[in-house]
Amino acid sequence: MAAVDHNAPVEAAPSPHRAMLRRALAHGGVTIGAGLLLIIIVMAVIGPFLIAHGPYDQDLTARLVPPIWMEGGSWEHPFGTDQLGRDYLARLLYGARISLMIGFGTVFIAGTIGTVLGVAAGYFGGRVDMVVTFLISVRLSTPLVLVALAVVSIVGGSLQVVVLVLGLLLWDRFAVVMRASTMQLRAIEYVTAARAIGCSTPRILTREIMPNVMNNLIVVTTLEMAHAILLEAVLSFLGLGVKPPTPSWGLMIAEGREVLLFEPWLITIPGLALLTLVLSINLVGDGIRDVTSPEDR
């Protein structure tokens, strides 16, 4: 037995989290994705305070002003105006808020439902697993867009309704992934050890299982957030998402559709914004998967 030197300095012990953070910063996808995402979030939060125009302010004398890089553009409206003379940059920035709210709100609801169902199914197995697996199968055989369309057209579209409907529909991937990763851990020896020590089931779930399935949860969260943002755009494009004066990127594309051939920037600007947001979220998600997987040996 080695002699114990109590006076030895405490070794600089990077925690798994800190080691992971270091790996994440070295990962190209994560840095680019997180950087873009951060820029979008910052712009969505403070952007509207920095520009003179409101997203609802109409100016019928300045309709369909082209953006600054096109002939006839001016610094008054850097991204131009739409058919009602509303400043496109202001609408884009407010639209970012809507998209982010939809993204975060949806994954919060869906993540809670899916994680509870998935972890319960994975840990308890047996009957619980059978019921959850059945629910997942039902959900997977439900045509997502059709159900969302039907519900929104009955209840009426608003930000809250869209978040709620998407949240209640998009939990399946959370449940599937959480179930699989919990199952792997259920029989692992540190969980058995915790049971043999006499830990209660809630304690095992929160202290032994959850911290070790968190990586997977984060990856699914990012992917589903992107999914929700795209679905909202689809619903709004079809006229069943958020209500018209609200500046949603999907709605902006829908409104620009009429003048697609003459003023294509009305579609390309919100389209590019949507692409950038979804791409950055996916980059972060994929990156987190890359960064965390070597730790699972």
Binding site: M1, A2, V4, D5, H6, A8, P9, V10, E11, A13, S15, P16, I188, E189, Y190, T192, A193, A194, R195, A196, I197, G198, C199, R203, R207, E208, P211, N212, E295, R297
Partner: protein
């Protein structure tokens, strides 16, 4: 000896005819069948015993350890600790008296917790002592198992296999249990580290007066540390004797084959021939009569039809028709010894 408290008369851990049967549904349309993972096992461990439990993989060793820890309930039979039946008591109640050490120290420590948190977990769960004393108890325990105190805040992935196993041992011992179930505690470690961990386990055995159930397939390890050895085959204990006797003169043909299968470092010996054949019988569909007869070189007519008798009492036993007479003789001898000797014999 007369002044001994009455509890010492009981074996500290006893299994009485314990069986565990799993219902197995092989395909969706078949009727479920029974798998007897542990079949009518009786064992006694007295204070200070080190009982080696050996057998092939799949013979039920690990199920037995799960039954002892209370992670599974036996289908029939009883587990007794200090003479008190454990049937119906919660895992929490028995956790303070019986703790496991697992095979793989890479899987038995939560990678998201520090060494201090891992070792202190039993103290927190059972509210032993003040929270502020945890650190003191933990460092004390780490010292005992040979871990420097500076590793208190390290994470398992920063430790070597041997160090991890020391952490697992510290966690098992921090509540001062009486019985430790060691489930192949060295088989996942480097050979150079194995002996260190074994020596540590034996030091702790003496220091804390522990009782070990030592599950292993490594016969040399068992020979080195066990005072008694039980050989398991298809869920049954087929031979249980004093370690020195069993290693000197195995009675059951299966024990013989197991001992013969140990690799020796002598040059030119080649691989040992055990005559066991390659087929391990399907535990869902065990052979009739003696479960070992299809692989046994001494199988007689009787072995195909009748199962050799199980002996529950006495410390020596062999479950084999070859030794039918011998066994009866021995039990009589042991019984006679027991009735005359006033000291409870721990053998």
């Amino acid at each position: 000896m007369v002044t001994d408290p009455p509890t010492t008369a009981h074996p500290v851990l006893e299994l009485r005819a314990v069986s565990k049967v799993y219902r197995v549904q092989t395909t969706m349309f078949n009727r479920p069948r029974d798998l007897r993972a542990v079949d009518d096992v009786s064992l006694q461990l007295h204070r200070g015993d080190v009982l080696g439990l050996v057998g092939e993989s799949g013979c039920g060793k690990s199920t037995l350890s799960r039954l002892l820890l209370g992670l599974e309930a036996p289908t029939s039979g009883e587990v007794l600790i200090d003479g008190k039946p454990m049937t119906g008591t919660s895992i929490r109640d028995r956790a303070r008296r019986i703790q496991p050490i697992f095979q793989d120290p890479y899987a038995s420590l939560n990678p998201r917790k520090t060494v201090a948190d891992i070792i202190a977990l039993p103290l927190r769960v059972h509210s032993i002592g003040e929270r502020s004393d945890d650190a003191k108890r933990v460092t004390e325990m780490m010292d005992r198992v040979g871990l420097p105190a500076r590793m208190l805040l390290n994470y398992p992935n920063q430790l070597s296999g041997g160090q991890r196993q020391r952490v697992a041992i510290a966690r098992a011992l921090v509540m001062r249990p009486e019985i430790i179930i060691c489930d192949e505690p060295t088989s996942a470690l480097d050979v150079s580290v194995q002996s260190q961990i074994l020596n540590l386990l034996m030091d702790l055995h003496d220091e804390f007066g522990l009782t070990y159930l030592f599950i292993s397939h490594d016969l040399s390890v068992v020979q080195h540390i066990a005072s008694r050895v039980a050989v398991m085959y298809l869920g049954r204990i087929i031979e249980a004797r004093k370690s020195t006797q069993l290693f000197a003169d195995p009675l059951h043909p299966y024990s013989k084959a197991l001992l013969d299968s140990v690799l020796t470092p002598e040059i030119g010996m080649g691989l040992p021939e055990t005559n066991l054949g390659a087929t391990f019988p399907n535990p869902i569909d065990p052979p009739p009569g003696c479960a070992f007869h299809p692989r046994c070189g001494h199988a007689m007519q009787r072995c195909h039809k009748e199962r050799p008798p199980t002996l529950r009492e006495g410390s020596d036993r062999v479950e084999c028709w070859l030794h039918d007479d011998l066994e009866a003789e021995q039990t009589r001898a042991v019984d006679a010894q027991r009735s005359t000797a006033a000291t409870p014999d721990t053998v």
